[in-house]
Amino acid sequence: MNRSKSRLLSIPYIIWVIGFTIIPIIFILSKAITDSDGALTLANLLAIFDPIHRKALIMSLSLAFISTVLCILLAFPVAIILRGSHIRKKSIILFILILPMWMNFILRILAMQMLISNNGIINNLLTGLGLAPMKLINTPGAIVLGMVYDYLPYMLLPVLNSVLSIPEDVIEAAKDLGSDKLHVLTRIIIPLSLGGVGSGITMVFVPSMTEFVIANILGGGKIQLLGNIIEQEFTVSMNWNLGSGLSVALMIFVLITSFLFGRNREEASTGIL
C-alpha cells in the first residue's frame, strides 16, 4: 500500500528526469560521437585540444577559478560575522545579501555594464573627483566581477549554513582547553565548514565555467570562453556535432569538479535553509 503510493508520487519526477535529463543527454551524446553524415567519430570530443578551443577552455577554467576563490573570500567573513550576530539582525543581513537574486539575471548584468562602462557611473565619479578614468569593461576582470556578483549567494548560503550549524559547545570546549581565537578559527570553524565550501564551489565553479552571456555583455565579445564557442557552433556555424562534442568535453570537467567537491553536500544542506 505504502509502496504503491510512493511509486505513484514518483511518477512526475520520473517523467521530469526522462524528459529533461536523460533524453537531452542521449541527444547530446549521440551528436557528440557522430559527424554530420552520422558516422561514428571521436573528432568532436578531441576537438577540445584544438589550440583555439584549448585557449578558450583555459580562459573559462581560470576565470571560473578566480571567481570561485573570490566568492569564498567574500562569503567566509560574512558567515562568521553572522554567526556572532543577533538572530534578528542575522535575517536582515541575509535578506539584503539574497535580495539581488530576486531580480532578473540579465538585468543585473546590464546594470553592471552601466556601472563600469567607459563613460559609466564609476568613471564619471572618478573624473568628477579629478582622477583618471579606469578601463574596466571589456576586460577579463569585468567578466569575473559579473560572475562574482551573480554567483556569490550560491557560495554564501552553503558556507553560512555549515558555519551556523557548528555547535557552540564545540567552540566553548576548544576555548576551555586553551585555544585562542585564531586557533578556534583555523582548527574548528574552517575544518567544520569545508562541506559547505565544497558545495559552494560546485555551485559557483560549474556555472561560471559554462558561462557565455556575461562574457558577451561585460567582455564586449572580445574574450572567448568555451561557452561562447559552443553557442557559436550551435547558432552561427550550425555544426551541432562539434558543439555537442565540446559540451560533452566540458561536462567531463563539471563531473570532475562535482566529484572532488560535492561529496560533503549532504552535510551542508541540513540546517536553517
Binding site: I52, N119, N216, G221, Q224, I229, Q232, S237, M238
Partner: protein, 360 residues
Amino acid sequence: MKKRIISAICTIATGALLISGCGQTGANSSSGAVPLTGETLTVFNYSEYLDPDMLEQFTRESGIEVKYEEATTAEELYTKYKAGGISYDLVCTSDYMVKRLIDEGEAQKIDFNSLGNISNIGSRYWEINKAIDPDNSYALPYFWGTLGILYDTTKVNGEIDSWDVLFNGEYSGEIIMQDSMRDTFMVALKYLGYSLNTTDEAQIREAADLLMKQKPDVEAYLVDEARDEVVAGNATMAVVYSGEAYLGHLYNPDLAYVVPKEGSNVWVDSWIVTKNCRNTDAARKFLDFLCRQDVATANFEFIYYSTPNEAVIKSMDAELKEDPAIVPTEESVDLCEVCTQVEGDTTELYNELWKELKAQ
C-alpha cells in the same frame, strides 16, 4: 465600465501570454470585427519587427487568426524553422537566409502581381532583391537598409567617409565592431576592395589578417548594444545598420551616419511563403495587408528602418525623407552589395577564422 474592465483584463492576459513566451497573439474579439473564419496563419518574424496592433487589425479585417512566432537572429530563426516543431506559413528573414531557404526548396512561388497593394513597393527594391531571388517570384521586400559607420561628430577629426578610420589606429579603443561574422568580414573585404561575397580563400584570409591586426583597437564586438555605446559616449564610432543609426541620432543629435565610399552591404529583409503553407489565399491576404500604406506606415513608425513602400516614403516629413539612414541615397546604394549565402567550404573557412579572431 464593465466592458472596459473586461478589455483591460484581456490586454493583461494577452500581455502575460506574450511574456510567458507563447508568442501567440490571439484574435481580438472586439465588436465590429469580421467574424473569425476558422482560418489560421502561422507567421514567423524577427522580434519587434512588426507593430503588434497590425496583427490584431488583420484578424479584425479578415477573420483570419494569426499565430505569431519570433526569433532574434537569422540563424536562430533558421534553427527553429528547421527543428520542425511548428509548421510556419509565412517567414520574414534576411536576404542570405531567404536565399538559403529558397535554395533548399522551402519557399513557394507567389504571384505578387495578384496583390492589390503591390505597386506600393518600388521597382528599385525588386532590383536589389534579384541578387537572392532572380525572378522576384518568392521574396517580398519588407524593410531594407545599409551597413555603415555611426559616429559622434564632436569626437572625430573632420568628416568620415571611409572604412579607413576603423583600421588606421587613430581611434584605438573607441571602435565598436559588429559581433556578427559576415558583417565584420564585410567591412574588411570592402576596405580591401574585394566583393563581400568572395569565395577566394586568399582574399578572405587577407581580410581576417586585417581584422586580427585591428582587434587591439576594437573596444568591443557587439550587436544590439553597438548603437547604445555610441549614444552613451562610451565609444566614438560603431559599425551599425542604418535603422539603428536613425534611432541613435534621435537620442543624440551629435551622431551622424555614413556609408563609406569603398561600398558596403545593402540588406533586404523579405517575406516568403513556405512550401508547407496550405492556405496561400490567406498568406496572400496577409502580404497584401502589409503592403497597404496605412499598415506599412504603422510598421515603419514602429521600427524606423528603411521601407521599400514608396507610398509611405511619399507621406513622410521632409526631414525624414532627407535622412540617409531612413532613405539611403541611390549613389550610396550603388556602391553596396547584397550579402548572399556562401558555399559550405567558404562558410567553414569563415567560421574557423572568426573563432580565431575572437580567441586571439
